[in-house]
Symmetry: C2
Subunit: 223 residues, 2 copies
DNA sequence: CGCGCCGTTGATATTATTCAAGACCAGTGG
DNA sequence: CCACTGGTCTTGAATAATATCAACGGCGCG
């Protein structure tokens, strides 16, 4: 757990307590749900192994992927407000999570200021991420969105010690499209176009980023 | 402050302490900033009077309105993660906010579990709101977005004891468009179309919702 | 009164979606 | 081993949705 859960700046005592708190683990087969919309909220979940998507559902069944999460990420933060999960978390491959009972975590947070602040930062970071996503969905064109998405994946793989330029997508074109507010055909076309422009090489879900500066410029950063 | 800031379920002792903490107030003229992107984070702000928008900025200057906030709302939550505000908050009319020093609030939260939980719910609620917004921006058509926006305004006015069907918009068409991922002309056209369909009556920024069920149907169910 | 923003509306252009057909690929059972 | 199947992915052509460009009207304010 140590590094996974609440990585930064925790004193040893707090860490020990968190370790003691987090005893329960859960293995999930590909496609299974960590939690579903409407489930009672009782815990946060830290991904120990594998990856998942979180998605909000419209009344008519339309699904919006709200985020992709990988090893070390903590999910379920949206459930605190109403005591029920507002979205569902579906694992994209066989995955293991550890369960962090929230009421007890709050108890620890009252005893350890560093843990408390860490928790607040986690919540706040999620807000920041969501707002960047709103910017992406509200203001960017399809190719800019896809470039930004690929770069964010790249960045996270790099942070976890994997290659930043060569990785395997864990999700379908349709799921990428749902995340980016695009249809699966649009995603497919864009990947082909990026490839023909020499920005990347794509073969199914295997991806190799060839021209990061160009991608960054597209995404709105590098320019 | 009592009701404004952290309304639900606070015991008297916690409330008294919060009152003591929140002494500083600030008056802002229309168009002024409560905080700007990049400002050091030190406090949350509760709107006592007036209203404001929060907006994230892209590198190229494009602006995405992330939320509209009115009396009783608390803003600035995005700054906790990085110790700097990630977005800017601009007041839409002459507005008064009270300043809630965050480090001290964390101190209180350690002493009062009810306050602590309240704070977590606040943060979580913001996450839920942002994710609904992602659903709106990613999956809904222009008319559905506008209907959803008008209904959410209506709801909030109702909650504050104002008319749910008749109110004055505090923002320009362009700002509405920025929030909804649309251009100002599209917003204008849609308002005209809604009017011609008898859904509402619009004159400048004065708005009267005439057919709430129809608006709800537009906002809720897809095409 | 006149100037600057704000808002409306029309014509046209662009972007992304929809519909449709077929290719690919892994797993399954004959 | 091979054909079959279901899900995924690619690509094209037609279509729909929204943006862009442009002109003008109106309102508020100095």
């Amino acid at each position: 757990m140590r590094e996974l859960c609440l990585p930064v700046g925790l004193d040893a005592a707090a860490l020990k307590e968190v370790d003691r708190l987090v005893t329960d683990r859960r293995r999930l087969d590909k496609g299974a749900a960590v939690y579903r919309a409407g489930d009672p909220f009782s815990a946060l979940y830290a991904i120990r192994l594998g990856s998942c998507k979180t998605a909000v559902l419209a009344e008519d069944g339309r699904e919006q992927v709200a985020g992709y999460h990988m090893i070390g990420d903590i999910i379920g933060l949206d459930g605190i407000a109403t005591e029920r999960h507002a979205c569902q978390a579906i694992v994209l491959e066989d995955t293991e999570v550890c369960v962090i009972p929230f009421t007890q975590l709050e108890g620890l947070a009252r005893r350890f200021p560093s843990l408390q602040h860490n928790l607040h930062q986690f919540l706040s970071r999620e807000i920041g991420r969501d707002q960047s996503m709103m910017l992406l969905l509200g203001n960017m064109r399809a190719d800019e969105r896809l470039a930004a998405f690929l770069l964010s994946l790249s960045d996270r793989y790099r942070q976890h010690g994997y290659s930043a330029t060569e990785f395997v997508l864990r999700m379908t074109r349709e799921e990428i499209g749902s995340y980016l507010g695009l249809k699966l055909e649009t995603v497919s076309r864009l990947l082909s176009r990026f490839q023909s422009k020499g920005l990347l090489k794509v073969r199914g879900r295997e991806l190799k980023l060839l021209d990061m500066p160009a991608l960054k410029q597209l995404a709105g950063r590098g320019s």
